[in-house]
Amino acid sequence: MKKEFKVDPGLYSEEALGLAANVASCARVAVKKSPRGLAVEIEAEEPDAAFRDFMNEALNQQCRIDLVKKNFKTSQLILANALVSALGQKNSREG
């Protein structure tokens, strides 16, 4: 059964919905963007339950995206150190 659900674009980005759609296991999910906003079309045996699962994952992804923005510098510094050190080089920002 197919059903379309509207999603608040003020809370969820298209990126988060797209990532969540890739993770969804028990439904086919299509993210739709239109001038009226964002919507997801769910094809599953129980679309309402699948939508709730989907939005749980979308929330997880959105929180992660927001956190990455907030922690960008720290996060990138640690990651860069790990990768650059593994290459036998020194991170110039570390001094």
């Binding site: 994952e57 720290t74 050190s85 593994a86």
Partner: protein, 484 residues
Amino acid sequence: MARKPAVKKAETPEFRFRRLDGGFLVTNDFGGHAFLSNSDFSRYSAGRLAPGGKVYDALAAGGFVKDRLNFDNLSGNWRARNESVFHGTGLHIFVLTLRCNHKCAYCQSSVAGEKAKNLDMSLPVAKKSVDLAFQSPRNAITIEFQGGEPLANWDVLRGTIKYARLREKKTGKKLTLALVSNFSLMDEAKASFLLENEVSICTSLDGPEALHNANRTYAGGNSHKQTAKWLKYFNARHDSQYGLKYRIFKPSALLTVSRRSLGRGKEVVDEYIGRGLEEIFLRPLAPIGYAKKHWDSIGYTPEEFLKFYKEALRYILLKNKAGVKIREKFAVMLLSKILKSRDSGYLDMRCPCGASVGQLAYNYNGDVYTCDEARMVGWGGDDIFKAGTVNDKYEDIISSPVTKTVCASSNLESQPLCHRCAYKPYCGVCPVVNYEAQRSIWGQMPANYRCRLLTGLFDFLFGLLKDAKSRAILESWVDAGASR
């Protein structure tokens, strides 16, 4: 008008907290921790804790008071706890063959039958793997031979050890060689060659005979008998090595906790003590690869594992109180970070995880994966974690999109729940387990199996640290250092 002088308060830098045993545990990014009563926690979190008291001083020493931060010490602690972030790939796992003469219930290594064809690593591929491992900038590297049963590909194992020792001399790097074997194909000649080349020996021991053999079916006979025989041999060789020109390491064993082990923690611990082993690793099954497919028959909930773990660890502590020398490796690895701000080298509990930057897994056919678990996912038909091949340069593997993606996804600074978790300074996530269990390399921590298990483990260990006698034993374990 005279005013009451303002009391100087403890300004709070960023900290994390968790309710624990009727009070609060507070931690911070420097790795500091403190136990607070409910009232002290209320005062501290509101910035109303007055200076001068015992609690205040303990918090100040742990980096919890803003105007008493000793940045040199605290940043040194952070660096020491995350030491692995500043070095190259140390662990290189060689899967010499996928063939094995055992059919284990959990079969973590995703093996094929003993007579399967074309599943052995060739010597040219093994040599290329050694060359690749030696490209790591790290001064000290470990090559670990695994399988399948690596002794089933003896000629290549022998040739690889010789070649690796030559490369060690040529490059000046410190090389540790390790073998994980079920011992079923071991003989005197092989054992002597391994010892003369300073290969450390590790085997699988799942507990007493009936339990071990039920988990580890061996068509050639009694698996436990073989294990016991060769453990005795290697222990004896270790104990009588005086005067030799080479070092013999004490043998070690790996335990895989399956559903059959539940409720039998004491028996398992007694088996380890009885076999002369001084370390036991109460290692949970990972729901990946073969184990994932058979989870209903061999797996358990995090709560079931924790019950087993607590029972076994309490028993180990009792044994220690009675003077028996044995310690639990999982606890040692976590407590190294908690008590000593020391990187235990546990690759699954790093930030970012050890994917490529801490370890590489070299498959029999020359494919290189970010870790051994990633290799198992590949064997299942999904090469998402393949970072390259032995024909690539080391720097290309480290710079590969796969390595970058897995490292980025295991960075706790980008994990919503982990970022707020009191155990963040000591924990790590595993993108491979996340992917297998939740179809996403980032996972979803509130419903994550591994997260529930580790949180319970941390709760238990921190609870033990509040008890002076248990703490003293746990501290002595950490002081002795983690063996790997």
